[in-house]
Each structure stands twice: as structure tokens, then as C-alpha cells.
């Protein structure tokens, strides 16, 4: 895994850059996710094929996207996949509503057609780890993402944002410093933050040095392995027990 640099570096440096020559991408499943993903990719200049097994749904989507982008067929039927030009695809994204179909489509793409990058939508969050173990490169759980956002809305001190990173337990977390005891102290002096990997501190939209005394409203971005629910409720309390 990529080593995250000191706090002066942007946390976004690790994101993959868009390749100069757009790759051929196959999207499997033309539900809401598949449809908007395909449209987004087409707008970005990628060559995309959208595979959908229900002919009526495929026809509807084709009318909206332009027929060149959509194919009627079964995304895990090998004979059909072979006709979609899958062997030259750079990415296969399986985004149907059924975990078993997404898993098998990715495994076939990877194993039979040597597709370098496979992405699966995961409907049951418990399957994220399993999908990685079974060879899927990226497993995205919409449920987990949405739960994270909802949980952050429920945190007692409000503004905590958590972004799960793939299947690992590590997540990117943003905590807003509340009014209280943390103010005037350095982040490294706060027990609860000292053991975490701090990425940056943002004040009024600008990054400040990691050892700057904190002010209320500062945003601290860190990498942590602690579960979101635990983190979001405890950290503001530990930073500022008096602020309750």
C-alpha cells in the first residue's frame, strides 16, 4: 500500500490519474447505478459498453444513452461476454443489485479474459472483504457509504465525515474541532489524536502547520482504523468533555 506522506502533502495524491488514452470500460447492470455511471463515463470521453439482461430495460437505456453504448445480454454468460470485446477492456464494473452476479462477472472477467481491473458493487456490506479475498480488485458498498454519511449526521458534535477505503478497516475521517478544551492546544497533545495518523489541519480553507494550536472550527483530517461509530462519538467528547 502507498505510504501516506507528511501532513504537508495533499491526501488526494494517491488517487489514480485519468489515463491519456481513455480505456474501454464495460459496465454490467443497467439499473440506476449502471445508467448514471455509464453516462458519466461517456461524458468523460471513455468508450463504454453497458450490458443489461432485461431487453426492455436495455432498450430504454439505449434510447437515452445512444444505442452504441448498450448491449442486451447476460453479464455472466461467458459466450456473450466474449462478443462484447471484453478481452480489450481495461475495466469491468459489475453494478447489478445482486452480489452473486457481480462477483461471478468480475471473476470471469479477470480469470477468463484477463481484464486488469474489476470493480464490483456490493449490496451486503459484509461481502466487501470476501470480494477482495475472492479476487475482485475494488468492492464498493453503497450501503456502507450511505451508512457512514448517516452516522456522521448522527454524531453528537455534528461535523464528522468518514470515507471507508476499499475493503481495509482504515478510513479517512474528518473531525471538526468543537468549542472547548481542545482550543489552544496542539493536536499532538490531545491523547485521542496523538495515536492517529494526522494528514492535515485545515483552517478557513487553508492548511496550517501540524503543530499549530487548534481553534474551534478547525478541520482535522486523519487516517484511522477505528470504527466510525466509535470514533465519531468519542473523539469530540475526548477532545472536549466540557463542551457537552
Amino acid at each position: 500500500m502507498r505510504q501516506i506522506g507528511p501532513a504537508t502533502q495533499s491526501p488526494y495524491q494517491g488517487l489514480p490519474e485519468v489515463p491519456e488514452r481513455p480505456a474501454y470500460i464495460i459496465v454490467i447492470g443497467a439499473g440506476k447505478v449502471g445508467f448514471y455511471l455509464t453516462r458519466h463515463l461517456l461524458e468523460g470521453g471513455y468508450e463504454v459498453a453497458l450490458i443489461e439482461k432485461d431487453p426492455a430495460r436495455a432498450a430504454l437505456v439505449a434510447a437515452q444513452l445512444g444505442s452504441c453504448a448498450s448491449l442486451v445480454g447476460d453479464g455472466d454468460e461467458m459466450a456473450f461476454l466474449a462478443t462484447s470485446g471484453i478481452e480489450r477492456a481495461g475495466v469491468v464494473a459489475a453494478v447489478t443489485g445482486d452480489d452473486e452476479d457481480n462477483l461471478i462477472a468480475c471473476q470471469l472477467a479477470k480469470r477468463q479474459f484477463r481484464v486488469p481491473r474489476t470493480i464490483a458493487r456490493v449490496n451486503n456490506p459484509r461481502n466487501v472483504q470476501l470480494f477482495h479475498q475472492l479476487g475482485v480488485d475494488v468492492a464498493v458498498s453503497a450501503t456502507e457509504l450511505i451508512l457512514g454519511v448517516i452516522e456522521s449526521g448522527l454524531a453528537s458534535h455534528g461535523d464528522v465525515l468518514q470515507i471507508p477505503m476499499g475493503g481495509s478497516k482504515t478510513a479517512l475521517v474528518r473531525v471538526t474541532v468543537p468549542v472547548g478544551q481542545a482550543v489552544g492546544r496542539k493536536a499532538s497533545e490531545i491523547t485521542d489524536l496523538a495515536s492517529e495518523r494526522l494528514l492535515l489541519i485545515v483552517r478557513d480553507g487553508h492548511e496550517v502547520a501540524p503543530e499549530t494550536p487548534l481553534e474551534a472550527g478547525d478541520q482535522i483530517v486523519l487516517f484511522t482504523r477505528r470504527p466510525a461509530s466509535d470514533f465519531m462519538l468519542e473523539v469530540p467528547e475526548l477532545i472536549s468533555p466540557a463542551a457537552r
Partner: protein, 153 residues
């Protein structure tokens, strides 16, 4: 031994009944409550209502200390995923799955799952019967019954 069966259709229910009556510890999983009617009134094993691709459901069925596992639902992908969970997560020593699609069956057999394909087996028996008659077909069936479909295609 302890056996977990996913899918209470004809194959699943027959196997469950046979093995439970022989004294084995059997748990059978299905998403439809009505499918358990196939087991009859006095099934001595455990029934678990839920999806066989769900790790929690397999846990309830005792997958963690099972010796044998088979997935025989009517969905190939469900069978394959469920068998992979049984093998990779629960480390069940003997895992078997039914795959109707011959191409997928070949792929997953090569990947190390113990699979069988009724399509291939059925077609092979029919051809043997057409070309060589009932005795030869019976022998082919017997070979399948004793050795599984591993030598097929």
C-alpha cells in the same frame, strides 16, 4: 458427519433426508419457507431460512464446524458464491456445487471447486444411450453415481 446443504429443491431435500436418516447431522438452508415442505413431516435435521450467500446464515447453519457442504439452489451464481464462502471463509473440507452452465462449470472446476453439471452429465448419458443402448447408458450412469462428474466433458 456434519453436512450443510444450500437449496431445498429436489436434490437438496432428497440428500438431506437420506443423510439425516442415516444419522448424520444435517442443516439445510433455503430462502423460501415453503420449500421445506419437501422434507416431509419428520425431518430430523435443522432447517435455516435465509440466503445461502449470506455468511451469517451459513454461520447459523453451523458452517464453522461442518465437514461437508453442497449448494444446489436453482441459480448458478448463487451456488458458486455460496460454495466459495463455504470453502474460503468457513474452510469446510469438502465443498461441492451444482452449475448448470457447462462453461462456468469448467471455469470453476479449474479454479479448484468440486463442481458437477447436470447438463453435461445428462447429455452424455443420452448420447451413450442413443449410440450404444441401455446397458452402456446404465454403465455410464453408474460411473457417474460412483465417481461424481469430475471426469465429464
Amino acid at each position: 458427519m456434519k453436512v450443510v446443504i444450500v437449496g431445498c429443491g429436489r436434490v437438496g431435500s432428497t440428500l438431506a433426508n437420506d443423510m439425516a436418516r442415516e444419522g448424520h447431522e444435517v442443516a439445510i438452508v433455503d430462502i423460501s419457507r415453503r420449500s421445506f415442505d419437501r422434507l416431509g413431516e419428520s425431518f430430523p435435521g435443522q432447517v435455516v431460512l435465509g440466503s445461502g450467500i449470506d455468511q451469517e446464515i451459513l454461520e447459523q447453519a453451523g458452517a464453522a464446524n461442518a465437514d461437508c457442504f453442497i449448494s444446489v439452489t436453482n441459480g448458478d451464481n448463487r451456488n458458486i458464491m455460496s460454495a466459495q464462502v463455504a470453502k474460503e471463509i468457513f474452510k469446510i473440507p469438502r465443498v461441492m456445487t451444482r452449475i448448470y452452465d457447462p462453461i462456468r462449470e469448467r471455469v470453476y472446476r479449474e479454479m479448484g471447486l468440486y463442481t458437477f453439471c447436470p447438463t453435461v452429465v445428462g447429455a452424455a448419458i443420452a448420447r451413450t444411450f442413443f449410440e450404444s443402448g441401455a446397458d452402456a447408458a446404465d454403465r455410464a450412469r453408474h460411473a457417474v453415481a460412483v465417481s461424481g462428474a469430475s471426469g465429464g466433458a
